[in-house]
Every structure is written in C-alpha cells, then in structure tokens.
Subunit: 353 residues, 4 copies
C-alpha cells in the first residue's frame, strides 16, 4: 500500500497537504457509542499549533476540526470517523522559487525522484502540517484508552543540548517548551533565541511515558508493542532515533544490571521500559525519540535544481527554530494510537471463557 | 492480526517454536522464475548458528532449510514459498523448573499474562530460534535485490563497551564477532571471556549499511522507509534502540551542521543516513541498533512464580554471552526484507508511460 | 478492520452518511502524474443520480465531487486522493418515526443489534448514498485502466422479469433503464410504472462486461479475480447473487459443454467468463449480479420497535421503484476498482528481466 | 499481496502443491488455550478425501494432518498454528505430456501467461489438493465457533440436474453424494455412473446453512458478511456463482414478497438468507454455490501448446466425475472460516461497558 494508513483494528488514514484545502483523516475501527464532538479536539490542536512562542513561525492556523462522518447525535456509530482541518492561511507565493530548487534536509529531492513531480508549496505530504491529523487521531485514541485508564504523557527531555534535570509533570504545560524542569525550560528558550539570531535551528529529545497499561498488550514476533511504537514514532518526519527503556545505554550494561528483578510487588527496576518480549509487562512504558534540527534555516545552502545544476538557496520568511516543542503532542498522539490499536487487538483474541 | 507476518507485497509469516518440530516461514509475494534451492541458505544459516565461538552455547543445531512449497524445477513459481528448519537438538528436561518461575528479562512473565499459559521450554515464539526463519527469508529477499544491485551489510560496531575504530568490510567474516576492526574484535573476544567468568552477559551495537539503493524507495507518512526499518529491527528480541544516520547525535546538532548539502555529484555528507522524508535519497543507508545483554545469566536472580510468590532462580547450563554476533545476520536479513518489500511496492505504483 | 476499505494496492476507504455533511472516500495507492479534475466526475455522478426517470425519487442531489487532497497542478501526486460529495438535500424530519421502528428488508435491525444505536435518518452507512463514493472511485480506477486499454461496461439485463433479448451497447445510454435492448427497455419502464401504482418495487439482473483485459490478472487461491469481483459486487447493498460466465447454468452442463476449447485464435466459447483458475485468460470477462427489489415500499408492513414490541409501518414519501438502473454505474465502478487493483498487483510481482 | 491469505483476525495462509512435499497452512490469530490435536482433523479430512465412491479417482491419499507449530501440551498458545499434510501418492510421470499442452477449462493457460512457467504436474496452486488445507483450517475455525454455538452444514442440493426435493440433515452423511434427500442421492449416483461411461463430468449446486449465528456479525460496506462469504466460496476453484437467501430468484420478486416481516418471534420468512445490510440478523444463514463440471475429461479436446500451435489432448487416467461431493466439506470449511473471523472482529470492536 501507499503508506498513508496506520494501525490494524484502530486504523487511521491521513490525507491532505499544507497548501491544498486542508488536512484530515479517516478512522476505521472506532467502537460505537463513544461521545465525540468538535470541542474534544480544541486543546490538543492548540498544543500542536505554532504561535505559542514569540519565536514561532507567525503562520496563524486556526486548527478547527470538522467531523465529516461517523458521529450521530453526539456518539460514534462504529462507522468511519472523518476529521477535516481546513487550511486558512495558505499562500502560494513565497514558495515559487522552490519549483526548481531542492531544499537540503527536506523531502523535495526524494519526492521528485519518486513521483516525477511534487507539491513544492510546503512539501505536500512531507509537510509538518500532516501531523495535525495525527494529533486529531490521538484524541479519539485517548477516548478508547480512557476506560482501561491508560494515559500517555510526552515532554521535552532535551533541546539544543540542554537536558531536563528532573521530571515534574506539573511543569510541562507551564512553559512553551513542554519541559518538565522549569530551569531547563528557561535555558531552552534562551537557546532557541540564540539559534534564531544565528539563522539556525536546534534538535532535541522527547520522552514519552505511558501509565496504567496492563500487562499483555503487544503481539509477539513482528508486531511487538515496542516495534509498533518504534515505527509510529519514526514515522514522524524529524525523528532520527528511538529507544525503549534503557535503550542505547543497554548496549553497555551487563545482564545482571539490565535484567529487572521481579518481586511480588512488581519489577524493582525498569530497564526494559515496560515491555518484555514485545508485550507490556504492566510497568510504566518509557521511550525516547531523537529529533533532528529543522532543516529550514535562513543561511545560504548548497543544492541543485531539477536538472541537477548546482545552485545556492537562501530561504526567506520565518521558520520554527526547533520541531521539539510542537512534536511533543504529536508523539503523545502516536503512542496513544498504537496503544488503542493493541488494546483492541488484545481484546479480540482473548479466549472466550 | 496476531503479529507473525511482516511486509506488504513481499510478505513473510514465520512460525514455530524452539522445542517443537521446528521453525519456518511462508513467503507470499515472491516473483516467479527466481532460482532457489536448499543450498542457497547454507551460508547464512551457518552465520546465524551458535558454535562459532569457543564461548558459544554448545547446542549444535544443523540448520538445514527444507523447501516445502513454491519452487518447481529449481525456479520460484509465484506461489507461497514455505521454508522449514527442523529442530534436532531439543531436550525438554533442563527447562522443567521454568514451568513455575519467570526468568527475569525474558518474555515468560508477559506471555503468561497475555495467553494464560506458554511454552516454557525455550520461550515459544520469544525464542531466539525464531530468527532462523528471518535469516532464511533474508536469503530470498536478497535474490529480489540482486537485479537492482542493492546490497546489505551488517557488522558489530560495539560490544561490551568496545567500539570498532574503523570499518574494514574485509575483516567482518574473519572474526567470530563480525567486527570490521581486527584489534577491536580481539578485545571483544576477551571481554566475552571475562563476562563468562563472571556468569554475566554483554550488550552492544550493530550497524547496517545498504549500498546501491536507488532514490525513491519508501512511502510517505507512515510506511516511511526508516519507519519500516525501525520496526523491522526493533522487532528482533534483544533490540532496545534504533537510529538512522546521525540518529541521537542529530538531537545535539544545529540545522546547518545536520543538513546534507546537495551537489551535482550527490550529497557531500550523510547525516540523513540515506533517507529524506522517509524515502531513500540514493546515498548509502546507515542505521544502528542497540542490543541489550542476554538475560539468561548464571547468577542467582529474584523472581516470582506463577502464583506471584517470591523465588530465587539460578539458571543452569551454558548460555550465549552476547546476542551481538549472532544478531548480525538477523538484522542484515530484516533490512533486506524491508528493502525487497519497498522495491516491489515502488515498482507497483510507478506510473505507466 | 471495520470494513470500510477495499483493495490492496489501489485501496479505497469510503466514509459518510446520507444525512450528515456528505459522503466521500480516500484513495491510497493511485500512481502519480495522472490528470484529474472535478469535471472528470460529472458524467458518472449524473448517471448514478436519481431523477433520470419520471418515476425516480424526487430528492435532487447535485453530486459535485470536491477534491480535498492528492492533486497538484492538475496531476495526481501519489498522495492520498480525497473526494467529497456534500449532501445538499438532507432533511431529518420525515425519518423521525424510524427512531423506534425497524424497516423490513433494511439494515436498521442489524445495525441496532450490532452497534446499540444507529443513524436512522437514512440508514447511515447502509444508505444507497454511500455508492456515490464508489462511483467516484471508479472514475479514478478507469484512469488507471486507460493505458492498458481495459474497459468496463454494465447494463440492465433483466428488470421486473423482463429480459433484454439482445445486447446493443449503443442503446444503453439512450434509455433510463440502461438496457441494451430498446424494446425491452420500454417494457421495463412500463413495469416500473405499474409497480409504482402498486406501491411495490422490482428487482433485476445487471450484467457487466470487461474488454481488453490481458491474460494474467488475478492471484491464485483466495484473491482470485472472480473471488474479488464477487466480493466487490456482493458488497453493494441490494445484490443477493453473483455469477461469472456460465454461472449457475454451469451447474447443469457437462464438462464437454462447459470447457472452452483453445485455438491459436483464442477460446472458441466463453463459458468461463474470461477467468480460469482465478486469473484472466484474455477473453471478455462476463458476470451478472442479482438485485433484490428495493425494500422501501408504500404498503403497510409488519415490524417491531426497539423494545421488540410488534408494530405496523407504512413508509411515506416517494421511493425508487428499483435499484437496478442506478446500480448499473455502481457495479461498473466496482468492477473497475477490482481490475485497477489487480493490474497494479500484477505489475508489482512481475519478475525483473 | 499474492493472494494466499484469507481473513483479517483469524487469518489463514495456505501453501503447497499436489506434487511437491505436501500442502499446508499457517493460522495466525487463533486465540490461546483451545484444545487441538492431530485427531481433531481426521474426520473432516476423510470427508474431503476421494475414494468414497466407487467412481472416485483411485489416488489414495492418507490425509494425515501434522501440527508443526502453535500447540503446547495440547492447547493452542496464541502462536501461529502450522498444519501440514504430506503428499504420499505423487507420481510425476502421467503428466509429462502436459509440459507443452494446456488443458481446457484448467488454469494451465492462465498460470503460464502470468508466471512464465508453472507446475504442470497437477496444476500447482490450482490443484484441488489445495482445498485440503482449507478443510484443516475449517476444523480450527469450528473450535472458535463452538462456544457461541454457531454451526455450519453444507450438502449437495443439486448434481447433474438432479435436485434434492427436501432437506433431511440425517441423510447427508449416509450417502456418498452428501445429499440430504435419499432418493435424489440414488439418482445422483446413477447420473455420475452414466457420465463416467460418457467420459464426461457433471456440475451441481451446494447449499450451506449456518445455525446459531447471533445478530451483529459482519462489517458494513465492503466487508459485509455476505460479501466475505461470496469471496470465500468463489475462491474455491470450481465455483462459478454464489447466492444468498432468495438469491437470483429475488431479482424476480416484488418488494412486498421479498421483505421478511419482523415480529417479536423473529422474521416470518427468510428471503434475506439471514443477512441484512451485510450483517447477520440472527436468522439461519442460507447460501448456495454453483459448481462447474470438472474440466478433466477423457474425451479428446482442442487446445494449443506453449508456442500457440493447435493440438489435440486426450487425458488419460481416471478422474473425479464431479467436484460436488468433495467440495461440500470445503465450502463448509470456508463458511466457518469467515464466521470465525467475523466473530473475533465483532468482539474486538464492541464498546467497553
């Protein structure tokens, strides 16, 4: 298939481009009789929206989610739920130069090679705007996870080399960086401002934690819970690495250090990140994603045109300095989508008694 | 689905347990008229087999691949190819104690929670023996990749904290650690011996490189080439992290450092690891996987029994000290399987001209 | 999955209800650089629209197809194509009585049993309006079939017991019944008028013929071309039977009669309907679908309410007398969708040479 | 995909050829802790086996089902269940002439066109032997349907133009034709003998009835229960038509005749065949399949060779005279497989309460 669907039982198909009518998605596989309204999406869409920072891109999208299908008298019907978010602020002009030149670090070059032409006005499907659809899907996923009391939280662990020293969930929503450490958040903001002065951009690390996940979610072998989480997170544009529990650190540990002892009260450590043999073990699920610096920068860069001739490209306009804060709700959504899917899958194959 | 299939057009379904009749797989989606015989599998199966090291587990499996279907007069027919590898050396006795106790770091606990019972004689589907089927699938995948001249090489980049200082492809097959640096390989062997004396185990990092991959493989959004590679690699039991190109290092780079400049001669750097926007860019694909230390160790560990009562477990017998060398051909296979699948998918959706 | 997707490589997902914002679909797997515009849909949407007959339901939908995604500068991009058809004439009032009573022959009862509630204003997903999305998908499928010169034609073979005596393709568009026999068409119109006087409805048989299909389309075993065609056609609401080639008549033939002799000039008969072993043989593909009489009739009928209490239901308003003429473009679309999908699948797995 | 898998949650993948090592299948998606042993298959395999009639082909296969994976200590584990049925009686010699000539009515011609070569020794995947794997899968499906008390019965409704006059379930297993009418069964046997004398073959109609199916199985739109049943049944080699409930007869009924009135005691008629809007309504499910006469006949037939040159072919050996009796357990199995799959799917998407 062409890769725009994700999930097995709770299955989402996203569509749309940043410079067309809008972006959206179809959810096929949402149980019936779950309350759902336009208002349910407002908070999450606002969290993903740029414009929180002074330093954000000034494109002010009003990301209002329309429900095009699947809800009747306030409840899901079991039919496909279609959500649509209109583009309001699209403006084709600043991108005309990109008809010929490939932006380094972007998908322009590979889309052109793959498809022979591409939507150069904002990158088509490679646009970060596609993630608005993922966040909307995450809202519905969270409704499925509510009865079993599974909750997902993501935050900025590191940005521009500055790392949170401790995790205070209360702080996350109080700063524009979604950082759980107030002082680190202030340093991150300062780093973003400096990078903007340099016409440069910053990367970082997002951490996601899942609480309340019962033991038993995930399928052995290929659809391991961690494998599906890795795919979900790596499928977000700027992500270049993903790790579960001890992650890359586990490569340098010994078995005696890395094994989590089991006691009647549970696991005494959580090197595994809550997943053993691809199946949740009932402990907290912990994972991290490495986010590359945004490739759109104001400095002059070397590139080629569509005929392969060398060219210099200096992007104009204002860009986000880092994908990190905005990617936090996106990763939260993707993790929720994976869990909702595996929750339904696990239910389906439980033996009748 | 229950998670034992992988791939979309080139689709594999593995089956089998380490203490049943054997392990195997069905490949549905292999083009017809590709030569295939039992001998094609011998070298790769031998590379995955334990017993290369003095220090390896002494279980001597003779991993002979039987072709149960899909080949006629030496050529694939387009029908499902079934490959079967009989278990020869299975012995139920040493595992009887595991009927009650969960091994820390293994999937025993989560399988029991998920299924209510499990094949405790070797771990059922969580057994490393399942990877024999993956290696066999990789042999067929490589045949699909041969005409477009795409080749995959994996090797041990790091083991027990010792890292290869340089990459000499010639060295890889010359040492039991599959390490591309001869001196590092010797240190790794020494580290393995020391860990064995300590009744402990070691982790490491495997790197995979793909050469000859044309630009254009991978589907946007969810089935990005890197997302599918991440899932493929993370689905291998001991892997706890995966990164593409600069990976976690990219989180600390600035945009100007991380963007790969484009010239008429190609990209001047390869921070992207050969993938932009989820699609291959024609450069070398580079990725790494973090491998945890093997959880089976000879030291006494804390655990519980099936009723949740505390217990001490001291595993007897000889175990592998590290999954790393044996996982090298497995990751090579998984990457090949992803590429074969995306190669066929890309071909299917190319416009007719 | 929840059943709103169809196809493997050319994959459609339909959504929407007759009394919500509209109906639509996402196509994932359309090759890039195919010209596509809103106008391409006009003719086919008009063919499916009611109001061709004097006797049709007077609900005048203007079925304008909006392209919400996947087209850039007039060409498909390879991204998902989203098509949306707004409902214009929805009016909740006449249906309020159906909040309690199940209409015999409709899906009200089964939806209620399955989902616990349902969109009683027009039947939700069971509404014939859903087929507008299928017809739109068929337009795109036909574009994929154009380069290999595969064409699909459907027509009314039988309506209310009146059967076309001969097949004149020129006649099909010249009468409101889409009947290829002019005299039979006139009799069918008369039968429709009589049934309307009786407050009753009529069934019929639609035949579909595919020309230009090369040998080799279809996958053995489960995804046989005829199996997928059968599913596609049976998935249309009113269809209760499907047959290929000689169909049910074959049950009474002898082998020597039913086998199509092969000559250098091709098959001398076409009992097989152009498909052997589930794969197209290069001959014309011929199939028929049995269409039941529309269940909405003006006569009083016995039913029960949501609590299981007996009730009498007399539907008011004007209804279509037969699904048959309007289903003709729908079945044409479904057959085109199956062929487009199998065309791409066949291309994907052809051996490289 | 290449078409050898069927089902969504209860997913089977069949493999194997009639002249290779054997045929088999993998079931992925069977719940754990269901008892399963080799003996469970014996009766069904015997029912499908030729040799019941004096007039059957004399090839005596002993269809013993081996369990290669997925069962531990007598219970399913949730892992893939692999079943294998070895070929015992294969003999390549009589088929050598078929290396060049295509048998009329068989898949030889289309396989050659699709794949460029094919297993001419018995037809490869198009062999009726593939259905042994389906019957084995049906045994496992029946175990899933046992707790909800869903049962499937198939029988010969018509053979060689002779139709059962009444349905007496007790008779089905008492005659070699699986006919529920004793006198009709005797006439069918006589017709088979006459056809054999003529070196010809006969077709027929198989009817399948499902009892105990609760309301609510089936997914709207594409994966309607009847659509999936139609695909399942049409995917069996010799089937050329399928109908549900009134089927093709419904095309000639009026709405008032075809609608099943609803009463507090249930539906008073069953024209719908137990399915409304693609979802089971709690009534008996009734469907019929048209089976063509077996194409292998002893009379001389016209064909071409691989180079397209005209040829005469006279098949030697003894062949089955009709597929009908042997196809009865196959269709029973296919219907059971569809129901098991939809039963699990329905369970998965039921709202939590």
């Amino acid at each position: 298939m062409a890769g725009n669907s994700f999930g097995d039982l709770f299955r989402i198909t996203t569509f749309g481009e940043s410079h067309g009518p809008g972006v959206g998605l179809v959810i096929d596989g949402c149980p019936s009789r779950i309350s759902l309204s336009t208002e349910d999406f407002a908070l999450d869409m606002a969290r993903r929206r740029p414009g929180r920072h002074a330093i954000d891109t000034p494109r002010h999208e009003i990301d209002q989610v329309e429900i095009l299908s699947g809800v009747f008298e306030g409840l899901t019907t079991g039919a496909p739920i279609t959500l649509f978010i209109r583009n309001r602020d699209a403006n084709g002009k600043p991108y005309e130069v990109l008809r010929q030149l490939f932006r380094p670090g972007h998908a322009d070059y590979t889309y052109f090679k793959k498809y022979g032409h591409f939507d150069f006005k904002g990158g088509g499907r490679a646009s970060a705007r596609e993630t608005a659809a993922r966040v909307a899907a995450g809202v519905v996923a969270r409704k499925i996870l509510a009865p079993p009391r599974i909750s997902v939280r993501a935050y900025t662990l590191e940005l521009g080399g500055i790392r949170a020293g401790h995790i205070d969930f209360e702080q996350i929503e109080k700063n524009a960086c979604y950082c759980p450490d107030r002082e680190a958040a202030q340093q991150m903001e300062a780093a973003l401002l400096m990078a903007r002065q340099d016409k440069d951009s910053l990367g970082g690390i997002v951490e996601v934690r899942v609480n309340g996940c019962p033991a038993g979610l995930g399928e052995p072998v290929f659809d391991k819970l961690d494998a599906d989480l890795a795919k979900a997170v790596m499928s977000v544009g700027a992500v270049k690495g993903v790790e579960i529990g001890a992650g890359f650190e586990a490569a340098r540990l010994r078995g005696v250090e890395n094994n989590d002892p089991i006691t009647p009260q549970g696991f005494t450590t959580n090197r595994s990140g809550g997943i053993l043999g691809g199946i949740s073990n009932g402990d907290e699920i912990v994972m991290r994603a490495a986010v590359k610096p945004i490739p759109s920068i104001g400095q002059e860069q070397s590139t080629v045109d569509r005929k392969g001739q060398p060219a210099k490209l200096k992007l104009k306009g204002r860009f986000d300095i880092s994908a990190v804060p905005r990617i936090v709700p996106v990763l939260e959504a993707m993790v929720g989508i994976v869990l909702a899917d595996h929750y339904l899958r696990t239910k389906a194959l439980q033996a009748d008694n």
